[in-house]
Amino acid sequence: MFSNKYIFIYSSVMVVVVAIALAIAAIQLKPFQENNKRVEKMQNILSSVNIESTVKNAEELYKKYITETYVVNNKGEKIENVKAFDIDLYYELKKKPEERQLPVYISKMDNGDTAFVVALRGKGLWGPIWGYIAFKTDMNTVIGSMFDHKGETPGLGAEIDGKAFQSQFQNKVIFDESGKFTSIQTVKGGAKDGDMHGVDAISGGTITSKGLEKMLFDCLTDYQGFLTKNKKQ
């Protein structure tokens, strides 16, 4: 009862109508979606210097606390004319190490200290993990950290986004006494008391923990030029 011609016209018209509707929806909603991502990034950066923010006040707090941002290469030299906030590490990590553009955020905290926040990105068990870690002016002692993930196992690897895990990083150091870069390890079975370079790994989240350890090592290696150059004794 339906001719082939009818079926062809019917399906063509349907597809065009749907395509137009979806295109309009996508374009109209894009500004909102982009803004959500921007606010989330601000919240993440603030969280690494231990400042709690909500979606509403993130922008305001970011302006207040993040006083300066710049971009460095892996030798620690500043790169001009690039906005740190717009850098996506996903693309940077695909480049050769010497070509990478690495963002640095500088925060003036309430107690007068200055924090240097660097960005991290790596692989977990199921997908990407990322985060920010903040250092004191000695470029060695951790002030705070923030980690998030795309889809680690709930209750196990996903715990890296929890306060319990992240707060362990505070006051750890990434260089040993002789100045050698050691990064921070996630220790299976729990870090020993007084271990300045280790935190407890997550039970049942070994691959995520190891991925996080590798992320810290790899990304901080990229930043090593910057860290050693700007170190204040």
Binding site: L29, K37, V55
Partner: protein, 219 residues
């Protein structure tokens, strides 16, 4: 619209017949516990109540409007490509819902991640379109969609209530189990957060429902 008005003339919009379409899915014809459809997402998004409620609303909107649209189009859809037409309608609606969630409830959309997109493959949708919307008037189809969406949502909310309560000690993100319990040795049940316990919770609901409503037990 003309269809709606003609329905109105013959019977009221919320006649007993039409209300049955809304209420049926809550009990005798529940999509999850009786028809056992849409189990996959029910297990995945019920760890906390907020995402479960948003997921339930998203599914309800998609079932209601895909039913409505397909029902309006039903006489013009060539039978040989009807499944494709149904899928295009569902997919378009799901993508729009997904985009809206990303724009306005970003934190929840992150938790739901792929499961909003997977509404497209939710059997409840195709099932209702094939079984109901292709053969019924738009208003009835719309009600059927709302009813099935609510029936699905009801189970999601019940399951997520128990999982969030026992798994995190919280309801809708608010701590309800007092600190004194934890000091006395109470521990959150980490198992509740994992999918197997969702399956067991759904199983328990099915068990309770069937022990109350003996008609549902297969002979």
């Amino acid at each position: 619209m003309s269809d709606n008005i003609s329905v109105k003339k013959r019977e009221s919009l919320f006649s007993a017949q039409n209300l049955k379409l809304l209420k049926g899915p809550f009990n005798d014809n529940n999509p999850i516990t009786v028809q056992v459809l849409g189990i996959c997402s029910a297990l995945a998004v019920t760890v906390q109540m907020k995402p479960a409620i948003v997921m339930a609303l998203s599914v309800m909107i998609v079932t209601a409007f895909s039913n409505l649209i397909i029902s309006i189009m039903r006489n013009g859809i060539p039978p040989s490509i009807r499944i494709i037409v149904q899928l295009v309608v569902i997919a378009a609606l799901v993508i729009i819902v997904d985009q809206l969630l990303k724009a306005f409830v970003y934190d929840v959309s992150k938790k739901l991640s792929v499961f909003v997109g997977l509404i497209i493959t939710n059997c409840i949708l195709m099932g209702r379109l094939e079984a109901f919307a292709m053969a019924n008037k738009p208003w009835q189809s719309f009600l059927d969609g709302i009813g099935n969406g609510l029936g699905y949502g009801l189970i999601l909310v019940v399951v997520s209530f128990f999982r969030e309560l026992l798994g995190y000690g919280k309801i809708l993100g608010m701590q309800v189990i007092p600190d004194s319990f934890y000091q006395a040795g109470y521990v959150n049940n980490g198992m509740m957060i994992l999918p197997p316990m969702a399956l067991i919770t759904v199983g328990t609901i099915i068990w309770i429902q069937r022990s109350k409503n003996r008609d549902l037990i297969e002979k």
